[in-house]
């Protein structure tokens, strides 16, 4: 109550000490700004990874041949497994009730040639509907259709990166190329997708019809991957179960281990969210420590303020202020300092995040709850570090303070 009567006076005194007030706030401003920037950057990175997972397709369950292992952050197939067949894909689509459709795929790194240009890229064979399942869109030219796939036509769609590598500035559509010495016609270019979850360029590839790839390029009677689209995002777990059961039965595995690996987008999302989430928290806490350092600035300035205002403290006591009135006043002032610093920190942190994002340096996702927490934390830090100076002020004896000149 007495505090609120004193607010205007406190504000007047703080604003009269402009330089000192600004200096004491700098640590808090930087701390709060850093927390907001770091959390925004972390959340931006998280969103980017989640976007990439979503880019892979919608409600995807991915069946890979053989057991896969994660080595150095990348998924690797350890052994050549010939048991995953096109007929498996058909059976999954037919018999698994949670699966809407499936599309089989093969892929291999192969040499390319156009005129006298050479390149090596990942050649992916898939069916026409696979383009939709895996979210590939056509930027120029056209896609192949089911008929061309069935007939094993030698047509190819290039990704933007592969296109630049091979053709430079030339328009790829209509060009004749050789893939592993086999002649192909380029009929389209895909829309840029960027990097995938593992940081691989999803645009450095060439897509050809599945049958063409199996018969004319790779000479395979099995496939590497089957992409299955679940009926809904909630059906993915069920779909995964059904597929595993069906494949074990079709491959007659009995008591042998799986000869396939199933991943679903939902669990991928969950894992990624978890790792990036804890990363963001860690970075945010490190930035939070700089806020604590900012509190030391408040401590120093408030101690200076108490020493300089000894006479004022004595006077207020003579006029009837209780010890706790003095303590509350100085606590309020340090909280106010930190709060103002926090406000400036939030503004500059959010401003910088928006600018960095707009300039394209890093995707930033501003977290308003994090900003609110950082602000509240700054006030708490100010009050915490203001407590000692405030208690010291309250302990002063009025007569001695009045005598101090």
């Amino acid at each position: 109550m007495k505090l609120s009567r004193n607010v205007i006076l406190s504000l007047e005194i703080l604003t009269a000490h402009k330089l000192r007030t600004v200096l004491s706030m700098i640590g808090i401003v930087v701390g709060v700004g850093a927390v907001i920037l770091m959390v925004s950057a972390g959340r931006g990175a998280e969103k980017q990874i989640l976007d990439r997972i979503q880019d892979m397709g919608t409600n995807l369950v991915i069946v890979s041949a053989g057991r896969t292992f994660i080595i150095a952050g990348r998924q690797r197939q350890m052994d050549t497994v010939r048991t995953l067949l096109v007929t498996d894909a058909q059976a999954i689509a037919k018999e698994c009730s949670s699966v809407a459709l499936t599309t089989p795929a093969v892929s291999k790194k192969l040499p390319l040639r156009w005129e006298d240009q050479d390149a090596i890229t990942n050649v992916v064979g898939m069916r026409a509907e696979g383009l939709q399942v895996r979210n590939f869109s056509i930027a120029a030219g056209r896609a192949f259709d089911a008929e061309e796939s069935r007939a094993a036509k030698r047509v190819a769609i290039v990704g933007p990166t592969a296109a630049v590598n091979l053709f430079g500035a030339t328009d790829p559509v209509g060009q004749q190329i050789r893939i592993n010495k086999v002649p192909f016609e380029v009929i389209g270019v895909t829309v840029t997708k960027g990097m995938d979850v593992n940081g691989l360029d999803q645009d450095d590839l060439i897509i050809v019809p599945l049958e063409t790839a199996m018969r004319r390029l790779l000479n395979l009677d099995y496939v590497h991957t089957v992409y299955a689209q679940a009926l809904s995002s909630t059906a993915m777990g069920k779909a995964e179960q059904e597929i595993a059961e069906l494949l074990r039965q079709r491959h007659r595995l009995d008591d042998k281990p799986d000869d396939f690996t199933i991943q679903n987008q939902a669990t991928l999302l969950a894992t990624e969210r978890e790792t990036t989430g804890s990363m963001t928290l860690l970075i945010g806490s490190v930035a939070g420590i700089s806020l604590l350092v900012g509190g030391v600035g408040i401590l120093a300035v408030m101690l200076m303020s108490v020493r300089e205002r000894t006479e004022e403290i004595g006077l207020r006591r003579a006029l009837g202020a209780l010890r706790r009135d003095i303590r509350n006043q100085f606590l309020f002032e340090s909280g106010l300092l930190a709060g103002m610093g926090g406000l400036v920190g939030v503004t500059s942190g959010v401003g910088t995040a928006i600018a960095v994002s707009a300039l394209g340096y890093w995707p930033m996702v501003i977290s308003w709850p994090a900003a609110a927490v950082a602000f509240a934390f700054s006030v708490a830090v100010g009050m915490f570090f203001g407590l000692y100076p405030a208690v010291r002020a309250a302990r002063l004896e009025p007569i001695e303070s009045l005598r101090a000149e």
């Binding site: 009269a16 006479e311 006029l319």
Partner: protein, 244 residues
């Protein structure tokens, strides 16, 4: 209103004991205008701090309005200072970052009830000491005499029973000092109890009663037969200034 019985005050610094007040006894009634006089270092300020509940005696009894001060705690003393006592100091003790008006309002911040008309009261108090035109000035924009008048307005804003002034004219030129004396004289006429501490006989003679301290004891306690009249002194000064 005030009863002092054998008040003692001994300062202790380590093993060194400095007795300053050695058994002071006197009473002051409501409406009195008393000057406490004595050479520098005789303990006038010490006595005033005890009277003003800023300090406690090391011996004796002090009763203010029949309340025994010696037994009161820090908080109760603070409330008493705020409600019953107005201080005027030699060094003014104004907040130099705040306007005259805010300085005058300062005691109200610590009042039990914050009056709704705090602003108007402060304005009235400043007007009463002739500073109606200077309310939004900061102390460094005011003369010494004006600053002391702001301090007087501040002392009176809570309508205290007693006004305690410690060398209020000590830092002022003689004309400003006389102006302050004129204000005290008017306050006394209006019934305010005033205790004025000074080492200056000319200042003390404005009061109705003079208590002289010497060696920590009351050496003299007498009524002033013919108190000096600050207003006529002021008029004389003004006359002098007008005359070529």
């Amino acid at each position: 209103m005030i009863q002092l019985e054998k008040i003692e005050k001994t300062y202790t610094a380590g093993t060194v004991q400095t007795p300053v007040l050695k058994g002071i006894s006197f009473s002051i009634h409501a409406g009195e205008y008393v000057a406490i006089m004595g050479a520098s270092g005789t303990g006038k300020s010490t006595l005033m701090h005890i009277l003003g509940c800023l300090d406690k005696p090391t011996g004796g009894r002090y009763r203010l309005d029949d309340i025994d001060m010696v037994n009161l705690d820090d908080e109760a003393l603070s409330h008493l200072r705020n409600g019953k006592i107005g201080f005027v100091f030699q060094q003014f003790h104004l907040l130099d970052r705040a306007t005259a008006l805010r300085n005058v309002m300062l005691p109200l911040i610590y009042a039990k009830e914050y009056p709704a008309d705090a602003h108007q009261r402060a304005e009235k108090a400043l007007t009463a000491v002739g500073l109606a035109e200077r309310m939004s000035y900061k102390p460094n924009q005011l003369s010494g005499g004006q600053q002391q008048r702001v301090a007087i307005a501040r002392a009176l804003i809570t309508d205290p029973a007693i006004l305690l002034a410690d060398e209020p004219t000590g830092n002022l030129d003689s004309k400003s000092g006389t102006e302050v004396m004129a204000i005290f004289q008017r306050l006394h006429r209006d019934g305010r109890t005033i205790i004025l501490v000074t080492h200056d006989r000319n200042v003390a003679d404005h009061a109705r009663r003079v208590i002289v301290l010497k060696d920590g004891q009351v050496a003299e306690d007498r009524l002033v037969a013919q108190p000096r009249d600050a207003e006529s002194e002021l008029a004389a000064v003004v006359d002098e200034e007008v005359r070529p």
